[in-house]
């Protein structure tokens, strides 16, 4: 080897062999995939981390959070993965005689059977109830292991969206948008005088006058820009 450094676990971990993820206090740090986050012992694995050979390793690029003894990563970007019970805003992408196919922003389109639709329609009359391209507010009823999902429009407040605007935001920023116990969102609604319905898939339905809608849009834009700020650490 002629004394040169060769990549092996023993010499790779030399500078990263801190005991564990900095005790029990809440700490934040930027990490990249594969980064060693410390010893697994005494810690639980949260989102974006895995255990390999008794060490915790990051699987995503983002900010590491240690909350109590749970180590997790708040990713910089993420794709929406549906879960049962999620309130989502979807667009109708296609339909058959008794099923609508709904784009909910996930890797796969969800299906909305006519039995779970907003109103009764004759067999073959799906497009007369909700047409292709229209937006709906619905709830994820079921997600299969293979990520296929079924949505429903049976439930309080679930409807076809006929007015206002639909905006997008990265799903992992929803926490910031809503705030603790919904405080930030409530404030936004009051200031803009708009009805704002937040879907778990990162889509928002904004219903109000022009200025109010613009205010909400600007807020979303600044939230996204803040999160994408070059130095993520600067906006903690």
């Amino acid at each position: 080897m002629k004394g040169v450094l060769v990549a092996r676990l023993d010499n790779m971990t030399e500078k990263k062999n801190a005991a564990g993820p900095q005790d029990k206090q809440r700490v934040t740090r930027l990490v990249a995939p594969g980064e060693d986050l410390g010893d697994l012992e005494g810690h639980e694995l949260g989102h974006g981390v895995i255990a390999i050979d008794g060490r915790i390793r990051a699987t995503k690029n983002g900010r590491m959070n240690v909350n109590g003894n749970t180590v997790s990563i708040e990713p910089r970007r993420t794709a929406y993965v549906p879960r049962p019970g999620d309130l989502v805003i979807g667009y109708i992408e296609g339909c058959t005689n008794n099923i609508w196919f709904v784009d909910i922003g996930a890797p796969f389109n969800a299906i909305l059977p006519m039995s779970l639709g907003p109103s009764k329609a004759d067999f073959g009359g799906t497009r007369s109830v909700i047409d292709i391209g229209e937006a709906i507010l619905c709830r994820v009823q079921e997600v299969e292991e293979t990520h296929s999902s079924v949505v429903t429009m049976k439930g309080m407040g679930l409807r076809k969206i006929r007015s206002g605007a639909v905006e997008n935001i990265d799903p992992h920023l929803l926490g910031r948008l809503i705030g603790k116990q919904g405080k930030a969102l409530r404030q936004l609604k009051e200031e803009s005088e708009c009805r704002v319905i937040v879907g778990d898939n990162g889509r928002l339905w904004i219903d109000g006058d022009f200025n109010g809608t613009l205010e909400v849009r600007n807020h979303l834009r600044s939230l996204t820009a803040e999160a994408k700020a070059v130095t993520l650490g600067g906006v903690v």
Binding site: M1, K2, V4, L5, V6, A7, R8, L9, M12, L30, A32, P33, G34, E35, D36, G48, I50, I52, R57, T59, K60, N61, G62, P75, R76, R77, T78, A79, P107, F108, N109, E145, T146, H147, K228, V230, T231, L232
Partner: protein, 239 residues
């Protein structure tokens, strides 16, 4: 002086571009260069310039390519027609097919595909300017772009090539060294574990020369990995 006899390294071990045997060309990385993509990266490595863009996970089409237990990586390596002095005919050719395949196989070892069954992740690698080692730059840029897109990965893949010129083993060949050199050894490494996920060889190397080239690649991969991590944390490298 005939083919292969071009002097590319002097008696003091200094190469034509001023580098020593173990030196790597200057590298710069920029993230988010394709706003419509889910993740993207522009990597400049010497005169090479590569843009990698990631789309997905999305439904895999046609259905016959779907895997019930995991996602598939659809990698497309393409050289722009203007990327070299000789115009390249647009579209897939034998070389780009081969590089797309080996790149996909290298990335499959780190991307946690089992989290997205029946899906597809599109990896587009576009070579804007080529000057030897584009497959290495493409693979490294694709791995950074995947991390930028938020795709779960167990590690980054860093790829470097070493080779032999005038009977001397050197790291990171440039165009002249690649064209007139005697051998080329591109490798893809997982920097956190030191595992190897990609290895090709063109030409002949003795076992000792192979070991030397291997060591150069491993060392360079560690350094380049630091650059990639820095870029992922701050959006670009160097600042």
């Amino acid at each position: 002086m005939g083919y292969g006899d071009v002097e590319m390294i002097d008696a003091n071990g200094i190469r034509k571009d001023g580098r020593k045997a173990g030196d790597v060309r200057p590298i710069s990385i920029e993230l988010g260069v394709v706003p419509v993509a889910d993740g993207s990266c522009r990597m400049r490595w010497g005169t090479n310039e590569v843009i990698a863009a990631i789309y997905g996970p999305m439904e895999a089409h046609p259905r016959k390519i779907q895997r019930q237990d995991r996602a598939v990586l659809d990698v497309r390596y393409n050289m722009a027609p203007f990327s070299t002095s000789d115009r390249i005919r647009p579209g897939f050719n034998r070389r780009s097919r081969e590089i797309s395949k080996v790149t996909a196989e290298a990335l499959e070892s780190v991307v946690m595909l089992e989290l997205y069954p029946r899906s597809k992740i599109r990896v587009e690698i576009e070579i804007i300017c080529a000057e030897a080692g584009t497959r290495c730059v493409g693979l490294t840029a694709a791995s950074v772009a995947l991390a930028h897109a938020g795709i779960p990965m167990t590690d980054l893949v860093v790829s470097v090539a070493s080779g032999k010129i005038n009977d001397v083993v050197v790291c990171d060949l440039n165009k002249a060294e690649d064209n007139y050199g005697e051998a080329d050894l591109p490798m893809g490494v997982l920097p956190n574990t030191g595992e190897l996920v990609f290895l090709q060889m063109d030409g002949d190397l003795s076992p000792e020369e192979f070991q030397e080239a291997w060591d150069y690649n491993m060392n360079a991969a560690m350094v380049i990995h630091e650059y990639c991590v820095e870029a992922l944390k701050t959006g670009r490298y160097p600042q």
